[in-house]
């Protein structure tokens, strides 16, 4: 999670912050896992004639999960870009020099 403002914290606070961020990342991974299963199951499985996943259902679930991860990664990239643009916009305002274009 780059780009978060941790400057200005004491080293003790920074250590705490790193711990909190790590915990949040772990929880987010777990949440993602459950979210993936629920979403892809919802989209891919429609019949309950048997208690086993059919071949095509299993393939659908796996593909759905793969696409979900890629879409989320891409969204994350765009999000980071937007954030950066915003931050640059804020610091480069009111006539300061050296603010190059992207």
């Amino acid at each position: 999670m780059a780009g978060l403002p941790t400057g200005g914290l004491s080293s003790e606070d920074e250590k705490r912050m790193m711990g909190i961020m790590q915990e949040m990342q772990i929880q987010d991974s777990m949440r993602l896992y459950n979210e993936l299963v629920a979403t892809c199951f919802q989209n891919c499985v429609d019949n309950f004639r048997s208690s086993k996943l059919e071949g095509k259902e299993e393939a659908c679930v796996v593909h759905c999960a793969q696409k979900y991860l890629k879409a989320a990664a891409r969204a994350g990239q765009r999000f980071a870009e937007q954030q950066q643009q915003q931050m640059m916009g804020l610091s480069g305002s009111s006539g300061s020099s050296g603010g190059g274009s992207k």
Binding site: D28, M30, S51, L53
Partner: protein
Amino acid sequence: MDPSAMNPVDLARREMAFYADLFNKMAEVCFRKCVTRYSDGDLQTGENVCVDRCVSKYLSALQKVGELLQETQQQQTGGAVGGLPSR
């Protein structure tokens, strides 16, 4: 990973949270898939069977997705599936 994140209480807490979330999502999904009429408040035989099978299929899907995530993590060396914005 910071070893202080691996203490048993934190691990147990995370595991419990995970299973609680898993169960809630599974229950909701299977309810939506299997129970569609509300003329009375009891589950019919077909609905019971559907729920049983739904749980079985859901847990299989859980396993498949878990395997995929593990593969993905191994490809991105050393870590949690990071870089995703939280929602």
